[in-house]
Symmetry: C2
Subunit: 292 residues, 2 copies
């Protein structure tokens, strides 16, 4: 079994990006600038945004964090989105999800200029990805593809089971895995809460991408000898063994599955760091005006 070291790959990519940014700036180009809007004080969101701001620093980007209390109105938030759309210095920006219940996330996402939508959530970017056109690919699916690529994992013609059909991970990663590309060209099966014979389907898979958000769902009896396991789950499970009082737990029962497979991503340190680094890459592409 080989551990897929997302943390190491992410560090490598951040270095590559930092070098490129240095080169750009040396040649009189503009420093890429990512802005992030954070509404409220959700623990998970605070952590994610802090990681993103830190990663910007490591990549040589300029970053701006814009905070609002969770009583901000939808209208006020949409105004801020509009302001960022029109701010020529901001190359890309994100609105950290989830948002308070009185605000429509979909409305906010659609208000973002797709040319600055480095999260890749705007319908235009989703559609262009599906068709196979240049676009901002959403960060987690892009990160998974990059891991498979850097570890030279053969996906051509292989059977890939995606667990979960979310708009943010399941559906886009399924699309990427089936495209005429490398990695890609896999025979992709998308499973979800309604799927029958789920165990049997997983058992036949060469590659399993688990993105259900259901801690330790994938057990050893569901995994074929030599399979590749990508664990996207990051559920905060209460724990008395950590300072924070919780433990980030993946969708895969790591201890029993690890021995059976050829490659596996750990949680934390697998897909998570790659998600952030994919956002950095999208910001670089936005700064260079590579896509739009």
């Amino acid at each position: 079994m080989q551990l897929i070291d997302g943390k190491a790959i992410a560090a490598e990519i951040k270095k590559e990006i930092a070098q490129e940014v240095e080169e750009i700036v040396k040649n009189g180009g503009k420093t890429p600038h990512l802005a992030a809007i954070l509404v409220g004080h959700d623990g998970g969101s605070e952590t994610y945004v802090a990681h993103k701001v830190k990663a910007c620093g490591e990549c040589g980007f300029k970053s701006t964090l814009i905070r609002f209390e969770d009583d901000i109105t939808e209208e006020q938030l949409l105004k801020e989105v509009e302001r960022l759309n029109n701010d020529d210095d901001v190359d890309g920006f994100i609105v950290q999800l989830p948002l308070p219940k009185h605000i429509s996330e979909q409305r906010v996402i659609e208000a973002i200029d797709y040319k600055k939508d480095v999260d890749g959530f705007h319908p235009i970017n989703v559609g262009r990805m599906s068709i196979g056109l240049p676009c901002f690919v959403s960060a987690t699916p892009a990160g998974i593809m990059e891991l498979l690529k850097r570890y030279n994992i053969n996906t051509q013609g292989k059977s890939c089971v995606v667990l979960g059909r979310s708009n943010i991970v399941g559906k886009p990663v399924a699309t990427l895995m089936m495209q005429k590309s490398n990695p890609g060209n896999a025979t992709v099966t998308v499973c979800h809460s309604r799927s029958e014979n789920l165990k049997e389907i997983c058992k036949n898979a060469d590659i399993i991408i688990a993105a259900l958000g259901s801690p330790e769902f994938v057990t050893a009896d569901m995994v074929k000898e030599g399979a590749v396991i990508v664990d996207v789950g990051t559920t905060r499970v209460p724990s008395d063994k950590t300072k924070s009082g919780f433990k980030l737990t993946g969708d895969v029962k790591f201890d029993e599955v690890a021995d059976k497979c050829s490659y596996i991503t750990p949680v934390p340190g697998g897909v998570g760091p790659m998600t952030i680094v994919s956002l950095m890459r999208n910001t670089l592409l936005a700064g260079k005006k590579c896509i739009y």
Copy 2:
């Protein structure tokens, strides 16, 4: 085995639409208006467009056919698209594909106002469909879903194999079949030219949607007893038995597969008529401004 009679269902839906249009017009509303641009004289395209114009008549729509010779430049065609975008009387329009090689189909598709894109090919409509938002769903996938619905075929939790990963059929129908909806909620596997063990995968499917464009590809030994078969193929195979000199041939070897399955769509008379009727429904939705 029950034959899925797409022709009869299509006739039924056209009647429903015609009744609704009559009602709209009686109440002082606007007659839905579909325009179609046809470039050149490709035999298949001529037939398709003629069928669409005829269907408009049956639905009580106004239709306009705009013809160009195949030496039209991309710029001229884009100007015509722009003109239709701005013509308030035109509710929706299509540019019949394929286009001559010197014109970028993608550029033309993206030039169409997505609010009039009744073919559902614009990236915004593709993305919105993937996310599950209201949109123009492209005609063939929408027609397939409608057939499954009208025949009350249970897809929940079932294993559905889609053969083909085209942007127009394979990928969107896979997305629709996996959504939280009815029909939908299926466990979807997308197979293509690179897939290994294709026979075995098909053999385990409860539902097969064949959209490869490979005549008689699906043979009896690939089909499980009692499976549902949807045949999207319409290849013109030369024949000396028909006046036209060709025979429309599906992706399924009908004669040997029919006996094994619970439901099957014939070619012609299955998915084909439903594709046209889905375009009619999109035009009605455009006319009623139901989506945008």
